[in-house]
């Protein structure tokens, strides 16, 4: 049957008596919410014929936090807190999507130094997100030591996050109107040392896994996603680049100054789990290259838009000028209001295209905030990728889709 009408087959719980290939009945099992290898609380209803997967039906919603309703009840600058927490593996990238959307609605442009700092934080987050993915996917397929190596580097990135924003994971560093604070010299020392060592660490991961026969046996040819199916299903990120299509929003629709960094789009036309693994490894190397260029050419200047409506005035001005006190008071009691209209901004996160759609009605709270989540769409491709594979391969397929359930359920 064609790709189009394969959608929405959905799986009904098999009635007893439906037979598999060799006469055995189909067994329906729960690859349930509380499972060590589902990267969060994803539940799959799997119909098995012996060891082979005949049908997979993902059931989500076990981590639905009502973030979009929460943001409708919060003011514009308070919403940044929620954007950190729905895709908890790449918080600054979600902040960036929200901040760019609000800035385009307000019609303001952040100074170049803020754009460079945003690129630095985004690439650091992409590295830490891929490290968590590699660690957890490795341990699920039996590579215990990969987890220890990857989380060692992740901890250095968390120390850098803490140095620049005072918080390990949910930094809320990127806000509408600029960034929270300027980077301290110690941050650049840590970053310089990290960039010097990181290529060596990536080689360590490659030595551990790339030519490892068990890793290759468990990932080559597993979870095939043909290029045209990937395009039709709307996959994005490593899922589509693993099938040979060079679609990277940082190159195709550049934002926040990505056009003046030169890096390659990591693609691999193997269309299977191993290809997506190689794509993510190459993306880590490209992220290190971008970080080096960003640190070398970091422009100086202000880090925030100097629009007093949007951002509080500096402290020392409060003693002298009366307007500063008025701005300060209005900002922290009612918050600023965004002109009516709606906008959609898409950014490239570790998982794919994470976007933020905002519809504003001119009041000081958004009318509607919708997060386009890459994992939500990539998870729909799981139904096709897992057909006729072994149950054990389901673990590799869930791993390669790199879904974060907070992002799926919002």
């Amino acid at each position: 049957m064609s790709i189009e009408d394969m959608t929405g087959q959905g799986v009904t719980i098999t009635q007893t008596g439906e037979h598999g290939a060799f006469g055995g009945e189909l067994l329906t099992i729960n690859f349930g919410p509380h499972h060590p290898s589902t990267h969060g609380v994803l539940r799959l209803i799997v119909d098995l014929d012996g060891e082979q997967v005949k049908r997979v039906k993902p059931i989500i919603g076990y981590l639905h936090t009502g973030i979009e309703k929460q943001m409708e009840a919060l003011r514009w600058q308070q919403g940044v807190v929620c954007t950190d927490r729905h895709d908890y593996l790449s918080p600054p990238i979600n902040n960036l999507a929200y901040a760019l959307a609000v800035e385009r609605l307000m019609g303001v442009e952040v100074p170049p130094r803020a754009q460079a700092l945003r690129v630095i934080m985004s690439e650091l987050t992409r590295l830490s997100s891929h490290l968590v993915w590699l660690g957890t996917s490795g341990i699920e397929l039996g590579a215990m030591s990969v987890l220890m190596y990857c989380f060692r580097e992740r901890d250095t990135i968390m120390d850098m996050n803490e140095e620049i924003s005072g918080f390990r994971m949910h930094t809320s560093y990127i806000r509408p109107g600029g960034v929270m604070a300027d980077a301290t010299p110690r941050f650049f020392d840590l970053l310089g040392k990290f960039l010097h060592e990181m290529p060596g660490h990536i080689d360590e991961y490659e030595d551990l896994l790339t030519m490892n026969p068990i890793w290759r046996a468990r990932t080559i040819g597993i979870g095939r996603l043909a290029p045209e199916v990937a395009k039709v299903v709307g996959a994005s990120g490593p899922m589509i680049r693993g099938s040979g299509i060079a679609w990277d929003l940082r190159k195709v629709m550049p934002y926040s100054g990505y056009e003046n960094y030169d890096f390659e789009v990591a693609t691999n036309d193997g269309c299977d789990c191993y290809a997506r693994y190689l794509v993510r490894i190459k993306e880590m190397r490209e992220a290190v290259k971008i970080l080096e260029q960003a640190v070398d050419r970091l422009p100086d200047g202000p880090i925030n838009v100097d629009d007093r409506k949007m951002l509080p005035p500096p402290r020392e001005e409060l003693e002298t000028s009366m307007e500063a006190v008025i701005h300060h008071f209005k900002l922290f009691t009612e918050g600023y209001s965004v002109p009516p209209g709606d906008v959609y901004v898409a950014v490239e996160s570790g998982r794919g295209e994470n976007g933020c759609y905002i519809s504003s009605d001119g009041t000081h709270k958004p009318r509607r905030v919708k997060f386009r989540s890459a994992s939500f769409v990539n998870l729909q491709a799981l139904e096709r990728m897992a057909l006729d594979h072994m149950v054990a391969d389901l673990v590799a397929i869930i791993g390669t889709a790199d879904t974060v359930l907070g992002d799926v359920d919002r």
Partner: protein, 118 residues
């Protein structure tokens, strides 16, 4: 003639005694409060409605049977290994013939796809 087996008997008794006490101790002393909810089948947090007792695919049977055949083959090596010195050349050649027959069977099954699943 039997007394040469006495140490073996003592050894078996010690093993049975040890295992027996350890198992029964944990059974007697350990707190056990079976409640209906605790004994419900664990399937990743969901109490399953569909019965788990289903007719299994015949492939499981095939795989089990192949395992048994080649495992029992290993049992025949033990008595041969004990008497290898006395049997001299005849025993060696005989065992190679035995292994050869089974290797042919293994190759036949492998080529006909008895081992791969789908």
């Amino acid at each position: 003639m039997l007394e040469s087996y006495v140490p073996l008997l003592i050894y078996v008794l010690i093993v049975l005694g040890l295992v027996g006490t350890v198992a029964s101790l944990s059974f007697v002393l350990g707190p056990s409060k079976p409640t209906r909810k605790k004994l419900a089948p664990y399937e990743s947090g969901i109490i399953p409605e569909t019965p788990a007792m289903r007719r299994l695919s015949v492939r499981f049977y095939l795989t089990a049977m192949l395992f048994i055949i080649f495992d029992v083959e290993a049992v025949f090596f033990y008595p041969w290994a004990v008497l290898m010195r006395q049997l001299k050349w005849f025993g060696l050649i005989e065992m190679f013939v035995f292994m050869g027959v089974l290797l042919v069977a293994l190759a036949y099954i492998w080529r006909n796809g008895g081992f791969d699943w789908d």
